[in-house]
Structure formats: C-alpha cells, structure tokens
Amino acid sequence: MTVALSGKEIAARLAKQFPGSIIEATGNTILVKADSLPEVAAFLKNAPDLSFDYLVSLTAVDYWDYFEVVYRLTSIPRNHSLVLKVRCQGRANLHLPSVTGLWRGADFQEREVYDLFGIAFDGHPNMKRIFMWEGFQGHPLRRDYL
C-alpha cells in the first residue's frame, strides 16, 4: 500500500523552504496559501525524496464561507502520498493558480471544478466549461445552487 506521509513533517520542511506558505497541517494533509501554491506544488513534484509525480485527483468542497480545493498527490517511484489543500475566500470572482504545467492530468479536473464550482484557474490552457453546455447559468455543485 501507498504510505501516507505525515502532513506536519512535510509542512515543517515547506515552512523552512517557503516561509509563510503553510497555513496549517493535520494528519496527512497540508493547507497551503493560494499565492504560494505554484512553488509549493513544484517543490513537492521535483524534490528527489518527495517526487510527487502523479496527481490522483483534484476536486473542491463548498464550506459556505470559503471553497477548498483538494489535490491528492502520489509518488509512484517513492510509493507515498499526500493531500494538499488550498482555500478560496468568498463566493464571486474566484481565482487560483493552475497546476496544469506540473501535472497534465489536472487539465480536465480544473475545468470540472470551474464548471461546477466557479473557481477559475489562472494559467490553464483552455479554461471553459466541461460538463455543462455553453450558456448554462450558475455552478451546480455550489451549495447555494437551487
């Protein structure tokens, strides 16, 4: 089985590397500041002893006050995993940096989050709806939809 790395240990390391980038760490998850997501994600992918080369899934959760985007990472050579989270405050005009440059698999999943939650990913090559048709009003997986 894949070993779930301790979020606190990784967070301590990241805090040293990128001061102020980590908001909190619990169990095997770390909550990262939205602004520092690109460099933290690049570090997690490229550091030789971490080498998270595989993005298992990218999804979002609506907590009313904020949206949380969840990145589940796995390293195939190292056989370990980690959960990365980013928060997005408010309900309108939401933006996050895209991770498609690091993991091509994020392409469709970022479009899905954009389609169903309305969070736009900056730097995505093709930021448009994926499930709903052009002209559809609203973002159906938001809690205030209908």
């Binding site: 499930f131 709903m132 048709w133 609203g138 159906p140 939809y145 209908l146």
Partner: protein, 202 residues
Amino acid sequence: MEVTEKSGFYVYSDVELDKNEGIQIEALKTASQNSIPDPDRWLDEETQRNILLTSLDAILNWARRSSLWPVVCFPACCAFELIATAASRFDISRFGMEVIRASPRQADVMITAGTLTWKMAPNVRRIYEQMAEPKWVIAMGACAISGGTFAQSYSVVPGYNRIIPVDVYIPGCPPRPEALLHGIRMLHNKIAKQSIKQEAGK
C-alpha cells in the same frame, strides 16, 4: 313446422324434426353430385404453391414487427439489462432483433436504455432523425420515462418524450429482461394494428 299440445306444454314433434332434417340432407346430396372446382385452377401447379393471399397491411406489419433492428442508443445502466436480454438466456433473436445496428439508417427501433442528459440530448435526437421510417421508440426504465430519480436535476432530460415520440413505456429501475421482452411484445401488438393508410397521413 307443426306444433302439438302435450301435457300442457307446447313442444316440437321430433318426428317433424327428423323429417325436415332428412329433406335438407337429401337436397344437399342432390345438389352436391359434382366436386367444387379449385378456385386457382387457372394457375399452373408451380405457381399455386407459392401464392399467399392476405391484406397488404397484415403482410407489411408482419414483416416489420418480425425483424425490428434496434439502434445503438444506450446512454446508461439500463443497457446492461438490454445486453442480458440480447444474450443467450433471454435471446431477442427469437423476435429477429439480434441485429443491433451501429448505423441508425439501418435500424427500426430505438430502445432508450438509460438516463439522458441535456448535453447528450441533441445527439440522441439526431440519431432518431437519421433512422428511416417506419421507426419506433421504446422508453426503457424510469429515467427514460420521466427522468427517474434525476427528474428534478439541472442536467437530466425528464423523459425521452421531451425530445422524441415514444411508443412503449417500460417501468423499472432497471426493468428486468422479462419486462423488456413484455414491452417488445406490446410494440409488436401496436405495429400489428397499424395501417399504411394512417402512415400516409402521419
């Protein structure tokens, strides 16, 4: 016929009945000395064996319902019951339906096995329009009838009859193969009642 009074009741004389019966038999026998000629005796022997007389409607409907080729339109999970129906245990080849066509132009019936989303709806409508007349639609399962559990959803078509005319509705989630076979039989009965005169005015 003569009626006699006996013990307060009016009854027919059985002697009279027998006498009348005898007259009728004698008359029929006298009139039937020669055998009735074959009505198609003017045809040669080879032709006689190959001619079947029926109405145009009956023969057309028989031909149409005996080989309904379904088109591939299985958007969701009801397809598995349809596959079971098509496979050897239930075997829709008994109705001449085993030829499931990938091309709508060669198909007669659309079995709408599954939930339809609005994004998929134009494609299903297009498949239906590409099918050659005469064509029929079986709405299979709760989703095909009304949208099923997704009827209130933002993305699901609440029933195929919003986009195409449906001939037979089969309830179930999903309907068992027996139910689908029953629906197919109902469609056969429906086709048997159609007439080319109705089609012309359709």
